[in-house]
Symmetry: C2
Subunit: 261 residues, 2 copies
Amino acid sequence: MAGRVSETDPDVGSLAVVGLGPGSAAQRTPAVSAVLAAATDVLGYQTYLDLAGPFAAHQRVHASDNREELDRARHAFALAAAGARVAMVSSGDPGVFAMAAAVLEVLDQADDPAWHGVQLRILPGVSAAQGAAALAGAPLGHDFCALSLSDNLKPWAEIERRLALVCEADLVLALYNPRSKARPDQFARALAVIRAQRAAATIVVLGRDVGRPREQLTVTTLAELQPEQVDMRTLVIVGSSRTRRIERADGGCWVYTPRFY
Amino acid sequence: MAGRVSETDPDVGSLAVVGLGPGSAAQRTPAVSAVLAAATDVLGYQTYLDLAGPFAAHQRVHASDNREELDRARHAFALAAAGARVAMVSSGDPGVFAMAAAVLEVLDQADDPAWHGVQLRILPGVSAAQGAAALAGAPLGHDFCALSLSDNLKPWAEIERRLALVCEADLVLALYNPRSKARPDQFARALAVIRAQRAAATIVVLGRDVGRPREQLTVTTLAELQPEQVDMRTLVIVGSSRTRRIERADGGCWVYTPRFY
């Protein structure tokens, strides 16, 4: 499995924001693995560092809290500007509700020319919605949207407004950050918005810890879904009016959204 | 790079629908590479087979036209039901506007119990929108949608209706199959719908052949975008009201959508 030369050469004074994919190393691109192997410094949330490792003795590993994204991004630029080869790890795809936007927010606000001189790269990965979808079949096989239900950075009224519009557009919904301990009631409010527009029999897929040892896939309906089935480690896919299920010989089912309308 | 045992074991009488990612082998997951190496039969559009290969002399390679998706899926089930280990290749992610939905459409309509007995798996990959986004920065860093502009399988009026609603929701738009030779004028009509709702200065990213030798990235605005800049090998990302650009020291720019609203 050969990477391109530009992806495996040592990058002095560089920052690569890399996506680990859903979990297992088998779902991680060789380009990302090459960056991790060549890094002098690896930054990330501890859970993601555990997925990305093990690391060699000479590699410096900097764990931080998952909520300290901007501090972590500033730390990464400071190390890279001083000559380090920095890898910043995200689960899934760093470009989808993850670290790449935080890194660019920090760069956008940075006055230090050395930070702007850092060789920056974003390396994509398979995002959580794709991992859950592949396990279920092809629920994202036609028009879909990816929305974050976290109101840490966005007013809740805007989240409800968007949900109503994408339901009206009959898109499949991939919902990230659906329900935290700090705001357990909001998912029920989001569900109420969706239920007002979609049929009770609409298929819902819940993927929890997809690609990791405790992987769990649940196929249910909008009527049967209970908010307590969902937490921050769950990716929720709500089908469109066209999303269907096929019973499997082994007792499970496949879920897919036809390409035709 | 160890795959899980279940991903590398020979699967007799199996069909794996695999995503090659944007193009280069460095962006392809080891799980997909393992399936390709173990397959007795590989099916796909010739362009994707060229990306997936080379194959060993004992592997049977079945090229088909890109528009013959249902025929290709039926052929795959027939081979697998007869005992072959079949790999069906898609570019990007097979679950996103690609072969996984076509395969499940065929299974849904199949009467033959042997087809339902085939061990079926979908293996995700990095989709075109993610490849283009990573090259540009993080334009998909917040709420976004993925829409196909092809009206081969969906009425054009429905495409325009969806575009208007997702623009109203202020989502970033990732547009697949934007403009074909058979319907060159439709992209201009889609643009008119978007321009009616989004500011002239809205950032637009065009990724053409991302991850392949002729890779080309263009950052422009909604006002400046010309339909002739876009073809079927182009992935179009239209920013939200919040999408921003950062000038780079090397003369280019980064594009990102902040996580906060």
